[in-house]
């Protein structure tokens, strides 16, 4: 017979305001097996835990039920407390009377009844609980970073700094990410290339960091400390080891009409290309969609001119497998296609550009050599209109709009305005905004500089229509000034759209592989919005950069460092404690059907031939299920699949769950 103690928490007024906690404690006293019950203001506090510990000792308890918040919050707290006084931690059960009771109900009487029911169910389970012991598994001391932008590079460098090997997998031919495409950075206006390319070189030269560029992670198996990832190295048709990056092939390639992604498709590149001069690794890549040899079997010039003999048209995608202890997700972002917002005429005029396109037009390494001109006729724009929140802060998502603020647009627009005014002081600049949001160190000062020092016109209001006039070549902008309550008409030369930021297109696939959760907008969810901001709820998976939500460069770098610290904290451990609540088969009941093996998402179940002594004293070989306890995550899929009821989950056995249900239905 168990001797069970029930501890009811008030959680300040969180529980006590809706649930009569004293009544719950009193009701507990009447439940068979309960030898002690009490209520307390904050059970998770030092004093509350002491009450639990002292009672275990004084009353010689064998089991504990804590009626409090979600087990996600404090199950571990109370298990540790129990274990410190010699009780097996798995003899502690939490009855969640906060999230699942007091927070969601208003009627005090009914909520109290429900809390009593939940308490009784937990007691019924503890009656059947057995002590469990968790095993341990070793940790693979290597990290995988998915994405080679500023977030991924920083995380990799910080992990490498602690002495661990790191692999960066980047789907583009070069690392550097979006930051390398930027011209200048706010609010200090340092040149983006000047700060990001040295970082890229640092990554390339670090012996602990290995770059898999032009590669994708296609499969991830395993669990925290023991992931196995499959990396697809896309065929580059150029041998990375032989290529010297001389660029001769790119000069001689006759196929020169390929839209240049690096310049947001505003320029052209050759079919064999190096994205930009400072690319890392600085090796050429052949684009199989455009290469004349690969599409038509002709040409072959690059292979003839390459002195290193690096061109290999027969190259195939290669798959490599590697083991990792931790994974960092740094998949970054894209801008939405503003084509759906055709009131801004993005699809109708080349002079309506996105901010990232404008960034390339400003860049010295861009398609115009840093000379700001209109894409349509190459003339310098004299009047530029910036439109903020294109697709951001929009509830109506039929156009692909986002409900959230994209966060960086206010600042980069102020930057664009200042830089434009710096280079071309006679340019007239108007910004239409909903709100100007500039929280951040030196951010508001920067925005005010744009307004006060540079004379940029900020108009609070929306643009209703941009009408390209093919005769005058102007873009007729019709907007509203909400402060003056006036219609505004501007004949602009260029219109720049601050299109909303959305997660990278590859992010969902990565999330699926990692079983990492995403929010409704496709950003990776953190384990706790405030207290665990760089961890995914999936153990061993860490987050940084825009993959987790819109943020600027300093925040991204800070978050990457935090993710790296978490990874290091994991990798320095030699072994990890396993989950004790794992599946185990009753071998006498198992009929060897293999159903459990098929449903197990972790590959934890195998079948073995085993000799059994039968009741008639004969021996018989039988095929039975076997669970690898280090791999089993205790999801329970096998237990509900098993047709003979042979599979059971320790800590959540069928009998324990039925006892809970019985207690609730009593």
């Amino acid at each position: 017979m168990q001797r069970i103690g029930v501890f009811v928490c008030h959680c300040g007024s969180n529980i006590a305001a809706t649930v009569d906690v004293e009544a719950v404690a009193a009701a507990a006293k009447k439940v068979p097996g309960v030898v002690f019950s009490a209520d307390y203001m904050y059970m998770c506090s030092e004093a509350g835990q002491a009450l639990v510990k002292d009672t275990i000792k004084n009353e010689k308890l064998t089991g504990v039920v804590v009626c409090s918040c979600s087990p996600h919050m404090h199950e571990n707290t109370f298990r540790k407390a129990a274990s410190s006084v010699g009780m097996n931690p798995y003899m502690v059960e939490i009855a969640n009377i906060r999230e699942q009771c007091s927070w969601v109900h208003k009627d005090r009487e009914l909520a109290t009844q429900k809390a009593i029911g939940l308490m009784q169910a937990a007691v019924a389970k503890v009656q059947l609980n057995a002590p469990l012991t968790a095993g341990t598994t070793p940790v693979t001391k290597r990290a995988l970073v998915i994405g080679g932008g500023i977030a991924g590079m920083q995380a990799a460098l910080d992990i490498a700094e602690a002495g661990f090997d790191v692999d960066i997998v980047e789907q583009k031919p070069t690392i550097g990410g979006k930051m390398a495409q930027l011209d200048k950075t706010f609010p200090t206006l340092d040149c983006a290339s000047c700060i990001v390319t040295p970082k890229m070189v640092e990554v390339a030269q670090n012996e602990k960091v290995h770059i898999y560029s032009y590669s994708e992670v296609t499969d991830v198996r395993g669990f925290v400390g023991n992931f196995t990832a499959t990396i697809k190295r896309k065929a580059r048709y150029v041998d990375e080891k032989k290529c010297t990056g001389c660029g001769l092939c790119t000069e001689k390639c006759p196929m020169r009409k390929v839209p240049d992604e690096w310049n947001m498709n505003m320029g052209k590149r050759s079919a064999v290309y190096i994205p930009f001069a400072q690319a890392i690794p600085k090796v050429a890549t052949i684009d199989p969609r455009y290469c004349l040899h690969l599409t038509k079997g002709t040409c072959g010039i690059c292979s003839r001119v390459c002195e290193a003999g690096a061109i290999n048209y027969q190259a195939k995608d290669e798959f490599i497998e590697e083991k990792y202890g931790a994974i960092v997700v740094a998949t970054g972002y894209e801008m939405i296609d503003p084509g759906a917002y055709d009131e801004y005429a993005y699809t109708q005029s080349p002079d309506v550009v996105t901010s990232l396109e404008y960034e390339r037009l400003m860049s010295a390494a861009g398609p115009t050599g840093g000379h700001l001109v209109r894409p349509s006729d190459g003339k310098e724009p004299k009047k530029i209109v910036f439109i903020q929140c294109v697709g951001s802060r929009e509830e109506d998502s039929c156009k692909g709009g986002k409900p959230y603020c994209s966060k960086v647009c206010c600042m980069y627009t102020a930057k664009h305005a200042i830089l434009t005014k710096d280079h071309y002081p006679d340019t007239d600049i108007t910004v239409f905004y909903i709100d100007v949001r500039t929280p951040g160190k030196l951010f508001d000062e920067f925005y005010r500089r744009a307004v006060e020092q540079y004379g940029v016109h900020y108009i609070k209001g929306a643009v209703g229509k941009v009408v390209p006039n093919p005769v005058t070549g102007k873009l007729e902008v019709q907007g509203a000034d909400l402060i003056l309550n006036e219609q505004v008409h501007i004949d602009a030369d260029m219109v720049v759209l601050a299109a909303a930021i959305e997660p990278s297109r590859s992010a969902r696939q990565v999330a699926t592989m990692l079983t990492a959760s995403m929010d409704t907008n496709g950003f990776f969810t953190e384990a706790h919005a405030k207290l665990r901001p760089v961890e995914s709820p999936t153990a061993g998976v860490f987050l940084c950069g825009m993959a987790q939500g819109p943020k600027d460069i300093p925040e991204t770098v800070g978050q990457a460092g935090a993710a790296a610290a978490k990874v290091i904290g994991l990798l320095v451990k030699n072994e990890l404690t396993n989950n004790a609540c794992v599946a185990h088969p009753d071998e006498w009941m198992c009929n060897g059907c293999s159903q459990c093996e098929k449903v197990c998402p972790y590959g934890a179940i195998t079948y073995v031939e085993k000799e059994f002594k039968m009741p008639d004293r004969t021996k018989k070989m039988r095929r039975v299920a076997q669970v690898n306890e280090a791999v089993c995550q205790g999801c329970g899929a096998c237990t509900v699949t098993c047709p003979s009821g042979a599979m059971d989950l320790k800590g959540f056995s069928n009998s324990e769950i039925m006892a809970e249900v019985d207690a609730l239905c009593r």
């Binding site: 759906a340 941009v466 009408v467």
Partner: protein
């Protein structure tokens, strides 16, 4: 194919071309538009009367007739289309309006909950007949004509109810223009408001809007602008001559392409600019000014 057809008041007066050529073109394409008996005004200016039930009743009567006669109601006037489609949506989705309207209509023995389908003539062409069939039936392709579609507001918005086409990127009229053998002209102002009923208060408002629209169409190369709305037609037509752009109903052009328009007939049928056939309030007001 036979469809229930709701012409609407204006198509019997100022916009008779829209109606006449619409029916004729449909006939040429093998579709009969059967005018529903004893129809009444659609209710008009629907959006101004958010909580008014009475203005919706005639639309519900027309929809109920269609429900019992083939299930689909066709309109050509984009204002009627807008009103009836929104009412149909309310009857299916808005419990308060639906209950109130049905309480009124009980005495007529009507109970209606949005069962009928309401489509615009353009949707009839695109989805029921098919533009391929239209293209095949064209006898006089409008070769060399550069035509801009003018949508105005009522055809496309509110887009989540009208569901005809993308409100910013419509193609339904452009595809028809191409099916008729003409060259489409896409211009930014094609889905902007013409000024609408402002013409009753201040004539300069729609005049300015119409000039902006027509100038934009002309600058993009259009010689003709087509519309499905009598009010847009009215507002645009007033500036058409000065801007040097022809404004016609899309059905007239369709009838011409299908070879069912008698070239001498247009004036007799009553052009929108001609003398009104009856003294409708708008015409009367205009004359007194």
């Amino acid at each position: 194919m036979v469809y229930s057809y709701f012409p609407g008041c204006t198509l019997k007066n100022k916009a008779r071309d829209l109606d006449l050529y619409g029916r004729r073109a449909a006939q040429a394409l093998g579709v009969t538009l059967e005018e529903i008996p004893e129809w009444q005004c659609c209710g008009g200016v629907y959006p101004m009367n958010e909580d008014e039930i009475a203005v919706r009743l005639s639309s519900v009567r027309a929809l109920n007739y269609a429900k019992e006669n083939g299930g689909t109601l066709v309109t050509i006037c984009s204002a009627c289309h807008n009103v009836i489609k929104q009412v149909n949506n309310d009857m299916a989705a808005d419990g308060t309006i639906s209950t109130h309207a049905n309480n009124y209509l009980k005495q007529d023995g009507i109970e209606y909950h949005g069962e009928a389908r309401e489509i615009h003539y353009l949707e009839l062409l695109r989805d029921e007949i098919g533009y391929d069939k239209v293209r095949a039936a064209v006898k006089n392709p409008l070769k060399g004509r550069k035509i801009g579609a003018y949508y105005g507001c009522l055809l496309l918005r509110p887009s989540n109810v009208m569901k005809m086409d993308d409100a910013e990127h419509p193609t339904i009229m452009e595809d028809l223009i191409e099916a008729m053998g003409a060259e489409k002209v896409v211009y930014a102002m094609r889905n902007e408001c013409c000024g609408g009923y402002q013409t009753l208060e201040d004539k300069e408002v729609p005049a300015k809007r119409a000039r902006m629209i027509l100038e934009n169409a002309k600058d993009n190369g259009a010689d003709t602008v087509i519309t499905a709305c009598p009010l847009c037609y009215y507002n645009l037509k007033k500036q058409a001559e000065a801007e040097g752009v022809r404004v016609v109903y899309f059905t007239e052009l369709l009838a011409q392409a299908l070879g069912v328009k008698d070239e001498n007939e247009s004036a007799a049928a009553g052009d929108g600019d001609g003398a009104p056939a009856c003294k409708c309030p708008m015409a009367a007001k205009e004359e007194t000014k």
